[in-house]
Symmetry: C2
Subunit: 282 residues, 2 copies
């Protein structure tokens, strides 16, 4: 497996592959790889001529009060895991490589970027959209793989690719979960044992909501109430938002129909976690 | 010469050319082609396997009070001129083709987009950067050709391409002028005969400034004063800005050295014109 640190070298390699007709599968990550990332890498390996994994903790997508410095960076372990999953190349640039002096371009989205994570984390999606556009240009993948866990981010990347006509197909893969239901996240490593035990309330609340929908409940306010109550039972929890939204626009729904997404974001101690579940209302 | 109206068809053609190794030279325009545009088309024809000209009056780059509706659209004549200059394809999409329902992505630049035209025309460069990114993705050119006349726009496109690592080389070609010095512009067609005669003050002011620099003047304020006085002599003129700036950053300079750009923007009657001149200070 090749390790590339230089943006110029990455661009040169991918242009050469493109000219040869080599199809690249790409998994953009911030490192701290877990089984969720690795399921994406394995899909990229299986469906393409070669798989590229990027590891870049993107400063642009962290707010000033957020956990950029604290974000885990187990780089040697990431390389081992990427290699074991079959990646042909890890692209791990420095911030100065991606954003050299004078860099001043930003990619922004409208309605999709304003709600939920966008409202709680101002500037976050601008950072995501900018780095994703840049990485897609550098890596030139035919296919890119993102996790369902960051649902709003996945929709945003899909929209961005459609709007700017980037010649890449986005594959959104299922959230990988711990046996108790907790969605895998690099941030789970920041949880204390007690917080880790309590963090299960996010996925429990989603399942609770989905179960009540299947049992016939169609009133979003009542469902959200029940989900909030369940999360609040964890003493270390502080809810950011619990929402039921139209699955493609992320606009809130009041009376459920069609495909909806249940969204939760909550602090467990000092760690902010998100999770979601898609439900087809019968 | 082929005429393509569909974005999907344009993307399909350019991907096919790219796979074959066909080098595309691209000239993005808003139509109303004049000899300045045609010099770009001829360069694109000469330096590439084939030349694509886009004709698209981009609503995103016009302010609500600007001349979007009034902007000239002599489409049949444009096709004839593009063909005569050797273009292999004209891409002339509708706004709905480039910005289908749900479109919400914007590309923005920082410092380069804020001053001068950016300050006078809020949102203008966001519209330019967005459509240029989109057109580059659709046309996938190896080389793109822009005019020196829109100097700030040219710098912005160069920056955008560098920042997002778009695999295209930008060629900035000299401003083409009328015999009396007036820079060619599609907007010149809106001038009355009397306004047309007066419009020469923009280029006269630039030449006046450059002449005084060559004669030893290094004080920007004095130079700007002289240029403003010259433009004001035209009764139909109303100055927007006259500036002397560092040629790459567009930041104002007070004492001239190195390469500077002289920038002028003024209304002549109802028509807003811009012009510029690069001067290497001895």
């Amino acid at each position: 497996m090749k390790l590339v640190r230089s943006a110029r070298q990455m661009a040169r390699l991918s242009l050469r592959w493109q000219r040869r007709g080599t199809r690249i599968g790409f998994v953009p990550t911030m490192g701290a790889l877990h089984a969720g990332h690795l399921s994406l890498v394995r899909a990229a390996v299986a469906q393409n001529d070669l798989a590229v994994v990027s590891i870049f903790v993107n400063p642009l997508q962290f707010g000033p009060a957020e956990d950029f410095r604290r974000y885990p960076r187990p780089f040697r372990q990431d390389l081992r895991l990427a290699r074991a999953a079959g990646a042909a190349l890890v692209f791990a640039p420095s911030a100065a490589q991606l954003y050299p002096p004078g860099f001043q371009t930003r990619v922004q989205l409208g309605a999709l970027a304003r709600r939920w994570e966008g409202q709680s984390r101002p500037g976050h999606f601008e950072g995501v959209a900018t780095v994703v556009t840049l990485l897609f240009e550098l890596v030139r993948p035919a296919n890119a793989y993102v996790g369902q866990k960051d649902y709003q981010q996945a929709l945003l990347v899909e929209r961005l690719v459609a709007d700017l006509r980037l010649p890449v197909r986005i594959h959104r893969l299922p959230t990988v979960r711990e046996p108790d239901g907790l969605a895998l996240s690099s941030r789970n490593a920041s949880l204390s044992p007690s917080e880790r035990a309590q963090a299960v309330v996010l996925s429990s609340a989603l399942i609770h909501g989905a179960t009540r929908i299947r049992a016939g409940e169609r009133n979003a306010a009542r469902l959200i109430d029940g989900m909030r109550r369940l999360i609040s039972e964890a003493p270390a929890s502080r809810i950011d938002y619990v929402a039921i939204v139209e699955a493609r626009t992320l606009e809130p729904v009041w009376r459920l129909r069609g495909r909806v997404a249940l969204l939760v974001a909550a602090w467990i101690g000092r760690t902010r976690l998100i999770d979601n579940l898609l439900v087809d209302v019968p």
